[in-house]
C-alpha cells in the first residue's frame, strides 16, 4: 500500500511536469518508454545461520541461473544538450516476475546431516530516478547509455523446508519479508526512430537489487535468517518509446 502510494504520487508529479513542460518549453519534450525484458540472475549464496544459540545450520544454495521477466515504465523529459546529444531525465518504476531460490540444509552446519531441502521466492519492485543519454549521430540508430538510482522493495516469501528422510522433521519456516534497499541500474543499447513520435530500442541493463532477507521464524530465539546482500541481474531490454 505504502509503495503504491509513493509510486502514484511520483508518477503524478512527473506527468504534471511533462504537461507543464510540453506546454511551455519546446526544448523539453515528454517521453514515455515501456520495456519488457527477458532477464536472468544467479542469486543463490551459501550461508550459515544460527537458528538458535549454539545451533548453526548451513544453507547451501543451488547455483542455478534463474530466468524471469522485468517490466519497466520510464517517464521522462527529453532535452537536446548539444546537437548530437539528447538527454532524458525522469522516473522509472519496474517490477519483476518471481525468482525461485532453493538448496539444501545441513543440520548442525555439517554436510553429514544434509537432511532437508529449502526453497523460497523473491520478487523485486523499484522506483528510481533515471537518466538516459542518446547519441543522435547516426541516421539508422541512436546508441544510448542509461543509469538509475532509487529505492527497491525486495519481497522474499513462501519459504518452506522439506525433509529428505522420514526420521527428520521439517523445520519452522522463515517468515515472508520485504526489504527496502538502495538499487541501481546501468544500461546501454541502441534505439531506432520509427517516425517523429515512436521509436524502439534494444539494450542490455545491469541491476543491483540490494539486500534481500527473510524474516526470522516465530519459533526462533534469534533474528537470524537467510540474507542476500546483493542480487545482480542482467536483462536484454526491449523497449518502445513515445516522444510527445
Amino acid at each position: 500500500m505504502k509503495v503504491n502510494k509513493v509510486v502514484t504520487i511520483s508518477l503524478g508529479i512527473t506527468l504534471s511536469s511533462l504537461v507543464f513542460a510540453g506546454e511551455n518549453d519546446n526544448l523539453w519534450r515528454p517521453v514515455g518508454t515501456l520495456s519488457l525484458s527477458p532477464a536472468w540472475c544467479s542469486p543463490g549464496e551459501t550461508q550459515t545461520v544460527y537458528v538458535q544459540p549454539n545451533l548453526p545450520e548451513t544453507f547451501t544454495a543451488n547455483s542455478t541461473t534463474e530466468d524471469f521477466v522485468n517490466s519497466e515504465l520510464f517517464l521522462s523529459l527529453q532535452h537536446r544538450l548539444t546537437p548530437p546529444l539528447l538527454a532524458q531525465l525522469g522516473l522509472a518504476v519496474a517490477t519483476t516476475t518471481t525468482i525461485p531460490l532453493n538448496g539444501d540444509i545441513w543440520q548442525d552446519a555439517d554436510p553429514d546431516f544434509n537432511n532437508l531441502f529449502y526453497d523460497y521466492k523473491i520478487r523485486h519492485t523499484h522506483l528510481a530516478a533515471k537518466g538516459k543519454l542518446l547519441a543522435d549521430v547516426y541516421q539508422l540508430v541512436q546508441p544510448y547509455i542509461s543509469g538509475s538510482l532509487g529505492v527497491g522493495f525486495n519481497y522474499a516469501y513462501h519459504y518452506k523446508s522439506t525433509s529428505k528422510r522420514f526420521e527428520v522433521l521439517p523445520e519452522p519456516p522463515f517468515t515472508s519479508h520485504t526489504t527496502t534497499a538502495l538499487t541501481y541500474t546501468l544500461g546501454a543499447g541502441l534505439q531506432r526512430a520509427l517516425n517523429t513520435h515512436w521509436s524502439v530500442g534494444v539494450g542490455y541493463e545491469f541491476t543491483d537489487w540490494g539486500k534481500t532477507s527473510l524474516g526470522a521464524a516465530p519459533a526462533q530465539l534469534s533474528n537470524a535468517s537467510l540474507n542476500l546482500n546483493h542480487i545482480y541481474t542482467n536483462q536484454l531490454q526491449l523497449s518502445i518509446s513515445f516522444v510527445a
Binding site: V51, Q52, P53, N54, L55, E57, Q107, D108, D110, P111, D112, F113, N114, N115, K164, R165, F166, E167, V168, L169, E171, P172, A217, A219, L221
Partner: protein
C-alpha cells in the same frame, strides 16, 4: 571412442559417485533404535513399555527434550534419558516410554526428540527434531474377530481320544454354563460369541513379547488378569474360548490352558492317574 566421449563418461561417473557419497552420508542427527518391541496389542488395559536408545550422531554436544506425546509418559528414572537430557557426540541414553493402553486412540506416530529452545528454556524447540524410522514407530495391532489368530496349540497337552479333555470339558461346570448364558444375555460378549459356541477358561498366556511387555516372553505377573479371545481352527462345536491369564511360567508364545478334569500341562505324569495308560490316552 573419442577422447571427448571418454572424458564425458569419466565426468558422469565421477558425478554419480559424488552424488552417491552425498546421499549415503546423510543421516538423522540423532538415531533412535528400539530396544523393546514397538507393537502394542489392542484391546487391553494397563501400560506398555517401549524404549529407544537415543544416540547423538553429531560432532557437537546438544541438549534434547522429548515433545509431549499423547498416551505416553516418559520414564525418567535412574538409567533412563532425563528431561531434558544432554548428549555428548556419539553418547547415548535410553528413552523410556510408558504407553497408556486406555488412550491408544490418541497415540499418533513415534516419540519426537528436539534440541531444547535454549539455555534458559528446557522445553523442546523446533530444530533437529527427529523421530524413529517408519518401521520403528509404535504400532497398535487389533485382534480381529476374523480369526484365525496365532497358530494351532502344541506342547504337552494331555488329551484323551474320547474328547474328555477338550474345551467342552469346561461345560461340565455349572458356573461355566451360567456365566456364558448370562454374559450373552447381558451383551457382555461380542456379537459373534454366544453360549452355544464359547467356553471360558483360565491358564497362562506367555505372549509378553507380542504385547510389547519387556522380559515377559514366558509370561509374567503383568499379564495376570488379561483376557484373550481364542479360536480353535476348524473345530465345531464351541470353536471359541474366552481365556484369562492367571499365572506365569508357560513356554514362550503359547497359551497354557488349564482344563478341568483334563490335561496336566507341562507335567504329563499325572495323566496316568486320571486316565490310566491305555491306548486312548496320549
Amino acid at each position: 571412442m573419442t577422447l571427448k566421449n571418454i572424458l564425458k563418461t569419466l565426468v558422469m561417473i565421477t558425478g554419480v559417485y559424488l552424488l552417491s557419497i552425498a546421499y549415503v552420508k546423510a543421516q538423522p542427527p540423532i538415531s533412535m533404535m528400539p530396544t523393546t518391541s514397538t507393537t502394542i496389542q489392542n484391546p487391553n488395559s494397563g501400560t506398555t513399555l517401549i524404549e529407544y536408545l537415543i544416540t547423538n550422531q553429531m560432532k557437537n554436544s546438544h541438549t534434547f527434550a522429548m515433545v509431549t506425546m499423547a498416551a505416553a509418559t516418559q520414564n525418567i528414572s535412574t538409567g533412563k534419558c532425563a528431561n531434558p537430557f544432554v548428549l555428548q557426540p556419539q553418547s547415548s541414553c535410553l528413552l523410556s516410554l510408558e504407553i497408556n493402553r486406555n488412550q491408544l486412540s490418541v497415540l499418533e506416530g513415534g516419540p519426537k526428540v528436539c534440541v531444547t529452545k535454549g539455555p534458559n528454556d528446557n522445553s523442546p524447540g523446533s530444530y533437529l527434531c527427529t523421530q524413529p524410522s517408519q518401521t520403528n514407530i509404535p504400532t497398535v495391532t487389533t485382534l480381529s474377530p476374523n480369526f484365525p489368530y496365532g497358530s494351532p496349540p502344541t506342547g504337552n497337552v494331555c488329551v484323551s481320544t474320547d474328547y474328555y479333555a477338550t474345551p467342552e470339558t469346561m461345560l461340565g461346570s455349572w458356573a461355566m454354563i451360567q456365566a456364558t448364558t448370562m454374559d450373552t444375555q447381558g451383551s457382555v460378549l461380542p456379537s459373534f460369541l454366544s453360549d452355544t459356541n464359547t467356553v471360558y477358561a483360565v491358564g497362562t498366556a506367555a505372549l509378553g513379547d507380542q504385547l510389547g511387555i519387556a522380559s515377559c516372553s514366558g509370561g509374567c505377573n503383568q499379564l495376570n488378569g488379561y483376557c484373550f479371545a481364542l479360536k480353535f481352527n476348524g473345530k465345531t462345536p464351541y470353536p471359541y474360548m474366552i481365556f484369562q491369564s492367571v499365572n506365569i511360567g508357560a513356554n514362550p508364545d503359547t497359551f497354557d490352558i488349564y482344563m478341568a478334569g483334563g490335561g496336566s500341562g507341562a507335567f504329563p505324569a499325572p495323566c496316568q492317574t486320571f486316565w490310566g495308560t491305555g491306548g486312548a490316552v496320549n
